[in-house]
Amino acid sequence: MKKKVLLMGNLVLNLWDCGGQEAFMENYFASQRDNIFRNVEVLIYVFDVESRELEKDMHYYQTCLEAILQNSPSAKIFCLIHKMDLVQEDQRDIVFRDREDDLVRLSKPLQCACFKTSIWDETLYKAWSSIMYQLIPNVQELETNLARFAEIINADEVLLFEKATFLVISHNERRKHKDIHRFEKISNIIKQFKLSCSKVAASFQSMEVRNNCFAAFIEVFTSNTYVMVIMSDTSIPSELTLINIRNARKHFEKLEKLDKNRLNAGRQWRV
């Protein structure tokens, strides 16, 4: 099953969802091999953590890697150990470490990044954010500009989300935060809320959460992104921060347009 996903306005992801049944798998490696494995930028391989046929899974995975090595050796490889919610919470880390070690070993000479995921919590967003991060061309430039922006408005933290998926594509923290998983948690929180909104046939435009120790603002930013600003100086009135965001918007829109022109006629990525 093939799907075209438009991200960031000019990034077209060709997403090929390859069914996992044996018949398909045999087909991929035989007749369809060149067709499927050529010009691949990213390979995402999903493992079911509850699978009873580990040997077989590994065999198929390795066959994939061989095909990749032959046809698209520079592709980036991501392995998702999926359905982790079915494992007892205290076992999850151990099980994941185990699988990760195996996969890293088996993937040599290619390198793979492993993630434990579940559709029921934020771990899936972490995996996808990392994948996205690899795909966005001007990430460095975005980060420099965000740093400048955060500095000017005296924010603790500024995050940039991709509009459709709400994955964190860039961030700047001026003040250390202890929770390293907060990005995917926030993606999860907002996605959940978006889902509820869709049930009443609406979608959210902006959000402000504040109390006496912090203020968080989520606003539409450019045509393809949302921004989240965290302020710990609560004496600054909300309106001030919102004006700053509004003014920064123009600057970042310009950045995106510049980038669009640079990437001639929209480069197509095979995922």
Partner: protein, 401 residues
Amino acid sequence: MFKLVNMKYILTIKDFFNVQNHKQKSSKQMESHEGFGVSVGSMPKAAFSYHGEDDDQIATVLSSDVKPRILLMGLRRSGKSSIQKVVFHKMSPNETLFLESTAKIFKDDVSNNSFINFQIWDIPGQVDFLDTNFDLDMIFGGTGALIFVVDAQDEYIDALTCLHQTVSKAYRVNPQIRFEIFIHKVDGLSDDHKIETQRDISQRANEELHEAGLTDLHLSFYLTSIYDHSIFEAFSKVVQKLIPQLSTLENLLSSYVQNSMVEKAFLFDVVSKIYIATDGSAVDMQSYELCCEMIDVMIDMTCIYGDDESECACEQDSTCIIRLNNSSILYLREITRFLVLVCILRDEAFTKRGIIDYNILCLQKAIHSVFDVRTKLNKPNGVLPVEGMNSIGHLANSTNA
């Protein structure tokens, strides 16, 4: 200043908490469960107050023996412990798969994190405790509501028999108990099937009661599931019946809504997402769900970015504003440590934010004084003069401004 609210409700509080003094049978029959939460054995030392802003000073006369109780009963595997965990302990419904069978009566005192000043007793389903030497007088005597959980995905004939036995016994001990039947696990059923099941169960239950001659016994039925908001909605209704100040709160909210051009307002208990009062207009399930989601967003964000020292419950002066693309705004304001006001209003109405905020301030003071009155119960001359509902008479009217 705020005049006091209708005295009718003060008298109701007194009646409601006027529990007969029952003989305490030996404690080995009712051991508390050390499991997940608070172990309630003897009387807790901390003040278990009606959590208002001055909750440190407010101490009630109630000891743990006479604290109002909600009993969760039903056959084994009907879903009682899961309900309790999901509603009061923020457990994700998926995690309830890992819960073990309840072995002993688990007395959960939720008033530490919640406005709800009740104990929830989770009675194990496999124990036919009506036959053993449990002190039924003591159990039922101090109970405000009995929730009987029926598994709608299973054969419910046995459940109905057990329901009838339990309800008749409880009624005989304490006719004041409110009986609430949760027709549970309906997430797997189609809408038609749900309605049919409810009709069938209610018909059979009421018939049995009629045959037994208990015509005064009233049963309420709710279709619930832990996988959506129906369980919170049902619990909201159950709890509302037990709060004596409900009408007062409803009147306050109605007055606020009219004066502030707000479409809908809910008074939520933050932790459990049970709404303890709303204004007079009808409750639309979708609006309620949206408000619940908003509370989740607020709490989750506060947990990540808020202060470390305080727990991830409501902080001081929490505010949340969410703008939707259909010109609606969701506005959340903290009222007390455990209660929040959630309003749904239009874009245009929000331009008069100053007035809305002033009205909320008045509302906040009024709600505090409603609960302050309870402490005056302890005075010997108890009864205060009956006053009209003019505690928020001077709410600013945003239509005139």
